[in-house]
Amino acid sequence: MKTSVRFFIVVCLAIAAAAPSRGQEEVYLKVTSPGLTRVMIGLPVFTSRPGTDPAAANNLITTLRKDLDETAVVGVVPEEYARLVEVDPNNFPVTRQRWRAVGAQFLLDGTFAGAGNQLVLEVRLWDLTSGEVAYSRRLQGTVTLAPTIAHTLANELVKLFTGKPGPFLSRIAFVSDRTGNKELWVMRWDGSEAQQLTTHKSIALSPAWSPDGQWLAFTSFLRGQPQLFLLRPTQGTLKSISTLPGVNSSPSFSPDGKLIALAAGEAGGTDIFVVPAAGGEPERLTHERTISTNPAWSPSGRQILFTSTLGGSPQLYVMDAEGANVRRVTFEDKFADEGAWAPDGVRIAYTTLVDDQFQIAILDLRANTRTVIPGPGSNESPCWSPDGTMLALVSTRTGAKQIFITDPAGRPKQITFEGNNVQPAWVAQVQ
């Protein structure tokens, strides 16, 4: 058995190596834009070799289809059309033509295999226009990992078309009061599999992920005064990271993960500080002793966005990461807070006030534009998806405070339902 599996792997490697590599590193759709036609992928019934666990294979395909259908850039040819395609095993050009006739631009061809509790999937993505293999991949894992294999594949397919992996392994940390206390929770990006991370029966606030998805920084009243903690969700480890006088709130990791910006300060003032993520002495970046809070590191690591009452009302400011060159960036808002820098470094989502209701607005630093995205109820705490194509936000449009995500076309979808759920923080993958 072992020998045959090894032989099989060798064969597959040979196939993969023989497949034309041109196009494998090509990005098919560099940008996304709302309202565009999606790239349609034909998904035929995959071949199953002897030894394949049929339930796991079925689970994988169902998950893959669901994942791809949830993106705005990729779509799967509906099953009722796919069924119409008559495959001619000896004449690929004809088969290709038939897939194109039902709207497919690409064809994902796959073969399942397996031995013991292992599930193996070998796929090739054919560009139906050129007839070439755009991507080929061999994924393997235990049968229980079928959904994870599907998420991994879906992430890669999206990356092929956008240059950035899909959101299918991403998770959102948030604060929920559903148990009666504000505790930290984490869920998949679609709201499924919500898990409680803290049971401190205290107040947890403002979670922020380390860029590698290993640590969550957050504020807790666990020891009386608000302090900043680091939590490793995969291990349950909890470390104290800042016990400065004041609020110790609003952490933001630098893009290299080495530093954490936070808000704190003695005698009623709140300023921006930076503390090494590995622990150490905090350094004070602002010295105004008014209210400066909600720091957000720029994707380049060179600047820090923050909220300040320097000019009276809370407005957004940007400074160099060392604290110099403070300049205001919002001028048209009565109130601006919770600035979140998009991964592109160009857009800033933030919370503004329109007719006494919070609304999300987006500043584009390159185009010099400000766009308010009005929605029913109060809308706040915007947070970008790791690829910058979606936003998570908190809205009262259905009553209590709930987390919504918007797809790249801006359509909001409620993903929490129990209690109040606030302060979303989105990470590509928990490590």
């Binding site: 759709l29 930290l184 608000p226 480890t237 009623g268 205001r328 857009r347």
Partner: protein
């Protein structure tokens, strides 16, 4: 859809990257957009086998050593607090400055504290719900410390008073209008030692 098909899939490149339609163009601060390192489009060699690892198990946080769980206050302190010797200071919306009536209340509090030098107090800064959580935490911190500063100015020893902010997290009244909001904008006095 077929008109999109050309020889090259590059024809699928569409226009601008914008999450939501940008229509109005207003003047903004002159902040140059940050140069972002070019996106790595070089995918890892997709051939070969990837051993898919299980996604990590997520477990709840442990209780750290020395975690303080709120104990029962001695009944004498409870009685002391219930007696209302110290009055709370209230604030205007989004303000941490002391109003004249607030100063009068704090002056009476200061006089009582100076007459009871063994008493320790905790001043809690509270806010209504109409700001973001983190901003309110900072605003409550300001309110509590402004109240303390006034007491100290009137001669109360600084070490007799400790401050904390609860922001909007511990409201006194939970309705969503001014009748509750005004109650929630306060510096609340808690006697912690006799």
């Amino acid at each position: 859809m077929s008109r999109l098909w050309t020889n090259k899939p590059l024809a699928l490149m569409f226009c601008a990257l914008v999450v939501l339609g940008l229509s109005c163009a207003h003047k903004q601060a002159v902040v140059a957009p940050e140069p972002v390192p070019a996106a790595r489009t070089q995918a890892e060699p997709p051939s070969g086998t990837t051993e898919v690892q299980p996604e990590p198990t997520i477990s709840p946080a442990e209780h750290p050593e020395g975690a303080v769980t709120a104990g029962e206050l001695p009944s004498s302190l409870e009685e002391l607090n219930r007696a209302g010797y110290l009055k709370d200071a209230s604030f205007d919306t989004d303000k941490s400055e002391l109003r004249p009536d607030t100063r009068d209340i704090l002056a009476a509090d200061a006089a009582w504290l100076k007459g009871h030098t063994t008493v320790k107090v905790l001043i809690e800064g509270h806010c209504d719900e109409r700001n973001t959580e983190d901003y309110n935490l900072a605003l409550g911190w300001r309110r509590a410390n402004n109240a303390k500063a006034y007491l100290v100015m009137l001669g109360v020893p600084a070490d007799q008073v400790v401050t904390i902010s609860y922001g909007e997290e511990r409201p006194f009244a939970t309705c969503h209008n001014e009748s509750c909001w005004s109650q929630n904008r306060r510096a609340h006095f808690v006697i912690t030692a006799r």
